[in-house]
C-alpha cells in the first residue's frame, strides 16, 4: 500500500476525513484501497470503512486448545508414574480442573497477543505511508495505487478536504 501511485491528504479533523472517505468511495475507489491513519480510534460511524476481524474466534480456539493441553498435562503426567494409592483416584478432576482453567485463560491471553501482533502491528512496518502530522491530531486519508486515468479527478476531489501529499510521504520510523 505504500507506493508512488498513492494519493494522500492530511485532514485537520475527523469530520473532514469522513467526507473525504465518502468522496473516495463515490469515485469508485474500493474499501480495501482507502488509506486512513489517525492518532486515535475513529468510531465506526465517523468513517464508513468496514472492519471485520476473526480475532475473537481465533482466541476462542486458542483457549480451547490450551485448555485441552492443560488437562492432558495434568492427567497424563499423573498417570505416568505407577504410584500405588490403595484405590484412591490418581487423576482428580477438581484439582486438574483448576490447572485446565488457568491454562485455558493463558491460551486466550497468548493467542490475543500473538494475533494482534501478527495482524496489525508487525504487518504495518513499511507497508503504509505515514505523515508526522498524524501524531498532532490530523487524519491522513488517501487512495492507494490510483490508476492514471483517475488521478486528476481524485486529486481535485481531495483538495477540498486538506493539504495534498502525493505519492510517498516521509516515513518517520526509519
Amino acid at each position: 500500500m505504500n507506493s508512488e501511485n498513492d494519493i494522500l491528504v492530511v485532514c485537520s479533523e475527523p469530520d473532514l476525513a469522513r467526507q473525504s472517505v465518502n468522496a473516495l468511495l463515490s469515485a469508485g475507489i474500493p474499501n480495501s484501497d482507502i488509506i486512513l491513519l489517525s492518532s486515535e480510534p475513529l468510531e465506526h460511524g465517523e468513517v464508513p470503512l468496514q472492519q471485520r476481524t476473526l480475532m475473537p474466534w481465533i482466541v476462542a480456539c486458542g483457549a480451547v486448545g490450551a485448555g485441552i493441553g492443560g488437562f492432558l498435562l495434568a492427567s497424563l503426567t499423573q498417570e505416568s508414574y505407577a504410584i500405588h494409592t490403595g484405590g484412591m483416584q490418581v487423576v482428580t478432576l477438581w484439582a486438574d480442573g483448576i490447572i485446565t482453567y488457568e491454562l485455558t485463560m493463558l491460551g486466550a491471553i497468548l493467542t490475543t497477543g500473538v494475533v494482534f501482533l501478527i495482524t496489525s502491528a508487525l504487518r504495518g512496518r513499511g507497508q503504509f505511508p505515514y505523515a508526522p502530522e498524524v501524531s498532532d491530531g490530523k487524519v491522513l486519508v488517501g487512495a492507494a495505487s490510483v490508476p492514471a486515468s483517475l488521478r486528476n479527478e481524485i486529486i481535485e476531489t481531495l483538495k477540498r478536504f486538506g493539504e495534498i501529499k502525493q505519492g510517498r510521504t516521509s516515513d518517520s520510523s526509519t
Binding site: 475473537p56 482428580t92 485463560m105 491471553i109 497477543g113 494482534f116 496489525s120 504495518g124 513499511g126
Partner: protein
C-alpha cells in the same frame, strides 16, 4: 475550561520528555532502600533461612503476609481497568494505565516472595511442571502448584493488558523524540501507524483481554486463599476464604491506586486529569469494599464463635482478647472505623479524605493478612505445638524494601511511558 487535544498531549507527554531535579533524587533514595532489602535477602540466602524469624511452629510469617498482600494489591488495576472498560465508564480514562501499572508491578513483587521464603531459593524450579530424575511430576493436587499456574497466567495477562494500549503512545513518542530515544520508541511502537485496521484490532484485543482478565483476577486470589483454606489449621479451613480474600484484594487494590494517584497528580502536575471526580468515584468504590470487608469478617467470626470448637475459639480469642488484640482492633479501625466516615460523608470525601482513608486501608489490610496467618499457626491443636513468632531485621528490611521497590518501579515507568493514556483521553474528548 475544556482542554484541546494538543494541550492534553502536551500535558501528558511533559513528564516523559522533561526531567525535574526531584526525579534523580527520588530514584536514588528509593534505590538505597531497595538495595538494603536486596542485601538482606542475599545475607539470608548465604547464611540460611534461620536468620528470619520463621521457625517451628510458625513457618509462615512476614514473607507469606507480603505475598498475599501484594497479590491483593494487584487486583486494583485489572478489576478497575477491565470492569470500567467493559461498562464504558468515561471517568476511567485517566486512571486505567495508573491502575494497570500497579497490577503488573505488585504481581512481580508478590511473586518474588515464595522465592524469598525458600530456604534454598536456587531450587525454585522444582515448581515448574517437568519430570524429575525419578520421573515424578509436580503434585497437581497442591494449592501451591495452583498458585504457580494462576500467578503466572495473571502476570502474563496483566502485562498484555498493560502493553497493548501503550503501543500507540510509544508511536506518539517516536514522532516527538530525537536521537536514541526515537530509536527506542520506534522499537517499542512495533511499527504502529494508526491505520483503521490497527485501531480496530487493538480495540478488539483490549475488549477480549478485559473479558478474560476478570475471571483470572478472581481465580488468582481465590487460589491464594486456598493455600490456607485447603488445610485443617484452626480458622483457616473455611469456605468463606475465597470470596473474603478476593473482596479484601479489591479493597486494598483500590486504596493503593488512590495513593498512587495522589502522588502522581502532585508530582507530575496532573491535577486537571486526576481530578476530584476520579477520587470521588473511587472513594465510593472504596466505601462499598469497606462495608463488604466488614461483612465478610463479621460472617467469618460469627460462624466460628457459633460453632464453638475448642481449637478455633482459642485462635478467635487470641486475636480479639489475647496477645494479638492490639493488632486486631487496629485493623478494624484502619479498615472500617476510620475510612467509613471519611468516605460516607460527602463533605469528607475529598482528595485528602480519600487519601487518608486509603493509607489506613493499606495498613489495615497488611495487618489483616498477618492476623490470618500468624495467630492460627502459633496456636494449633495440641499445646506442645504452640509457639510465638518474632520477625527479625531481615524480614522487616525486605518488607520495607518492597514498598520502596514498588514506588521506584512506578517512578521509572512514568518516566518512560505516559502514566495517563494520551490516545484514550483524546478519544474521550470527542465522545
Amino acid at each position: 475550561m475544556k482542554k484541546t487535544a494538543e494541550q492534553i498531549q502536551g500535558d501528558l507527554l511533559r513528564p516523559v520528555l522533561r526531567t525535574s531535579w526531584r526525579f534523580p533524587l527520588a530514584v536514588a533514595a528509593l534505590g538505597i532502600v531497595v538495595a538494603a532489602g536486596l542485601s538482606a535477602w542475599i545475607y539470608q540466602a548465604y547464611t540460611g533461612i534461620g536468620v528470619a524469624g520463621i521457625n517451628r511452629p510458625v513457618f509462615w510469617g512476614f514473607y507469606i503476609t507480603n505475598f498475599v498482600f501484594w497479590i491483593g494489591i494487584s487486583h486494583a488495576g485489572t478489576l478497575i481497568s477491565a470492569i470500567l472498560r467493559l461498562s464504558n465508564a468515561t471517568w476511567r480514562r485517566p486512571i486505567t494505565r495508573c491502575a494497570e501499572v500497579i497490577t503488573v508491578f505488585a504481581l512481580m513483587i508478590g511473586a518474588m516472595f515464595p522465592l524469598i521464603h525458600l530456604g534454598r531459593p536456587w531450587l525454585f524450579f522444582w515448581l515448574v511442571p517437568y519430570p524429575s530424575e525419578r520421573r515424578l511430576w509436580p503434585n497437581y493436587r497442591s494449592p501451591l502448584l495452583w498458585d504457580f499456574f494462576a500467578i503466572n497466567t495473571y502476570l502474563i495477562g496483566s502485562l498484555t493488558f498493560l502493553v497493548l494500549p501503550i503501543i500507540p503512545d510509544c508511536a506518539l513518542l517516536r514522532d516527538k523524540c530525537v536521537g536514541w530515544r526515537r530509536r527506542v520508541y520506534s522499537i517499542l511502537s512495533l511499527g504502529w501507524r494508526g491505520t483503521q485496521r490497527q485501531w480496530h484490532q487493538l480495540e478488539t484485543a483490549m475488549h477480549i483481554m478485559a473479558i478474560v482478565i476478570i475471571p483470572v483476577a478472581v481465580s488468582v486470589h481465590t487460589i491464594v486463599s486456598w493455600d490456607f483454606a485447603m488445610t485443617l489449621v484452626p480458622m483457616w479451613h473455611s469456605t468463606i476464604f475465597a470470596p473474603y480474600f478476593v473482596a479484601g484484594a479489591i479493597f486494598s487494590g483500590i486504596a493503593a491506586l488512590i495513593i498512587a494517584m495522589v502522588f502522581l497528580r502532585s508530582f507530575l502536575h496532573l491535577e486537571e486529569y486526576l481530578n476530584l471526580r476520579c477520587f470521588d468515584n473511587l472513594g465510593k468504590l472504596l466505601l462499598v469494599m469497606s462495608l463488604l470487608w466488614f461483612y465478610f469478617i463479621f460472617a467469618e467470626r460469627l460462624t466460628t464463635w457459633y460453632g464453638n470448637t475448642r481449637s478455633e475459639m482459642d485462635v478467635l480469642w487470641l486475636t480479639q482478647r489475647g496477645s494479638y488484640r492490639g493488632l486486631f482492633w487496629l485493623m478494624v479501625c484502619c479498615n472500617f472505623v476510620i475510612p467509613f466516615p471519611l468516605l460516607a460523608v460527602k463533605k469528607l470525601r475529598t482528595i485528602l479524605g480519600t487519601f487518608l482513608a486509603s493509607i489506613t486501608v493499606v495498613i489495615g489490610m497488611w495487618i489483616e493478612r498477618y492476623l490470618i496467618i500468624v495467630p492460627s499457626l502459633s496456636h494449633k491443636f495440641l499445646p506442645y505445638a504452640w509457639g510465638n513468632y518474632h520477625p527479625t531485621w531481615v524480614e522487616i528490611t525486605i518488607t520495607i524494601a518492597t514498598f520502596s521497590g514498588m514506588a521506584l518501579l512506578y517512578i521509572l515507568f512514568s518516566k518512560i511511558v505516559p502514566i495517563i493514556s494520551v490516545w484514550e483521553l483524546k478519544a474521550g474528548l470527542r465522545q
